[in-house]
Symmetry: C2
């Protein structure tokens, strides 16, 4: 058999080997177990859908970002999912349309896109999360944020930072108390993204009114005070959003770092009033994201929803969650009943297939000597 | 927003909803946990690879069976995996080429193909399994078959039947004691598949010599006796295979039904001396398959291996594994510490987001009245 040079995988697609593969599966399992105890039930959407069905629920996704293939059955274009949230929204709006609300759903699986992002070279990544469908209230946000924290903590993630944002704040201000023209609005957005106070003020006097938002960024409590002062200067125009953020922050434990970046919009293309990013100490880039959004339904108004998604691959790549089991070598002719009992106690056993095998080479710390594990 | 009619998924691709999605995840988890205790370590290959890398390890797969897409980075054709065993073989032959043998690996994930099979309409299915790389001995077969049974039993599957086969038996006989021409060989295969004794005998006198194999089919012990008589008539030509089957069958418990179909080849295109199919009472079609095979390695002889794969979707579709958790409704203002304690005891809680929600409509059997769950 002629062999092509080994293991040349496409750019951005890779194998996960032991022990990282197990760590990845374990993290997913602990997160899903935690959200399940809060009543979230699992759904498993397919890897691919018709491109048009999928893209109409992916506001920020362009068709060229998707891995596509022609379906030989229908002759229509299939697209592989770049995100599972849109699929969960589709399920809620169609097959589970008549299920009682609020509807709590969880999911986990691989997602794939055509090209990698600048930050991460991977085209395939694991996504898991939970969606609360039927409400985008403060109470829904409290539940979602706190379950995300609880789930990550249960999975062993420490040094968690939650960064709050108000994704549609600028649109709401521009349509209300601080009017902006369309071009002005784009310029204001760009300078708020860049946190460039000088450039913001230089746009126009109307744009300069947005300056306090650059200051209302950073550690949560100080930033919130500045945001409150800004709202007061606008006759309390955003007081309800501030009250929402306060309500969400209130039950969060002292061990979680809270920050505010009220104008952050990257990654929040489909969220509306509330969004949050999740970071973990020692890892570059966010490991999760969530917030409020609306699910389109045929012939009805959009349905409010709140959810979070985790993308834990960067954690795993950095060696997070490497818990090695104790490995016990079982020589030929070992006591099989005893071996089963030791497995039930937590040992992972490695049985010799033939005499002369070396258990230590198989990374076993012990071998079964009669009925007792003995260290090598 | 204009909506396309809801939920029109491509043929053969579907959503798994609660409770089936959870049952599927639970079954996979229990199987993987069991194989892990026997020293099998998890690998996670990517959803897609270069088509040529993938197909060279998929002996029975034609390119048109694969879902393919053009890779914009390399301009080469990507193919989505229709099977994970070939990927595990690639990992063993490349990145884990220097790892000590025997090498034990496990895997789980979705696989997808271009067209459904006649038996099952699904194009996407879950595959999970374990591969033992470095040996295809009787001892390796004993380990693999028994771990497959143990894993399915741990997952709650009952009424298991294991059907043994000898995939390369006809080739070995035709190349040895019972010579056949190439056309004769194909005709013999076809009639053995059809179990058509009359047609087999009619092919040629040489073909008629294969007649005893049709009789050596059915319940294990009776079929083995006929297979032994057949071997004896050939001066013990297949005694070593018979000894192998006896060794594999010996440790299998009385609660497992064993059958033999020594010429079965459907689904065993890449196995050599040994193969087995797994059935579960009440479910049509096999739920798993395994056996011995060889892994191609660049610049070296093939490496022997033994493994099994499970395809549990038919079980799940039939309602297997529906274990409903106890759901407890938490009214507004409930005792959060008590609720957490009840979750730790196994309750799944559903917290009210607002006054007036109906816990019973949320399928809760109980609600938290003070500190105690009270039945509705």
């Amino acid at each position: 058999m002629t062999m092509i040079p080994p293991s040349l995988l496409p750019e951005g697609l890779s194998d996960r080997l032991p022990p990282q593969a197990e760590a990845s599966a374990r993290l997913a399992r602990r997160v899903l177990d935690t959200v399940a105890t809060h009543g979230y039930e699992r759904v498993m959407p397919p890897l691919a859908e018709f491109e048009d069905t999928l893209t109409q629920r992916l506001k920020s996704m362009r068709a060229q970002d998707l891995v596509r293939a022609v379906d030989p059955v229908s002759q229509r274009t299939l697209a592989f999912r770049p995100d599972m949230t849109a699929q969960v929204g589709r399920i809620a709006a169609t097959r589970l349309r008549s299920a009682p609300r609020p509807l709590r759903l969880s999911y986990a699986g691989p997602v794939i896109r055509q090209k990698a992002s600048q930050l991460r070279p991977e085209r395939e990544k694991m996504q898991l999360g939970a969606e609360l469908i039927g409400s985008d209230s403060n109470a829904a946000a409290v539940e979602i944020v706190n379950i995300a924290i609880e789930a990550l903590t249960a999975a062993g993630v420490t040094g968690i930072t939650i960064d709050f944002t108000l994704p549609d704040l600028i649109d709401a201000l521009a349509a209300g108390p601080l009017p902006l023209g369309a071009e002005e609005l784009e310029a204001v957005r760009a300078e708020l993204d860049a946190k460039d106070a000088g450039a913001l003020v230089a746009i126009s006097p109307a744009a300069a009114a947005y300056l306090p938002l650059i200051e209302a960024t950073g550690p949560f409590h100080a930033a919130m005070e500045r945001l409150e002062a800004f709202s007061a200067s606008l006759d309390g125009a955003i007081d309800s959003r501030i009250a929402g953020l306060r309500a969400i922050a209130k039950p969060i434990g002292w061990d979680i770092t809270l920050t505010l970046d009220p104008t952050e919009r990257h990654g929040f293309e489909f969220q509306n009033w509330f969004g949050f990013s999740i970071f973990a100490e020692g890892f570059i880039g966010e490991i999760g994201r969530g917030g409020s959004y609306a699910i389109a339904r045929a012939g009805e108004t959009d349905e409010p929803a709140m959810g979070f998604s985790l993308y834990p691959d960067p954690l795993i790549d950095a060696g997070f969650g490497d818990e090695r089991p104790r490995r016990l070598f079982l020589p030929v002719g070992h006591d099989a009943v005893r071996a089963a009992a030791l497995r039930a106690e937590g040992w992972h056993t490695v049985a010799a297939l033939a005499d002369g095998e070396d258990g230590a080479a198989q990374r076993c710390s012990h071998w079964l000597d009669g009925s007792e594990p003995r260290a090598y």
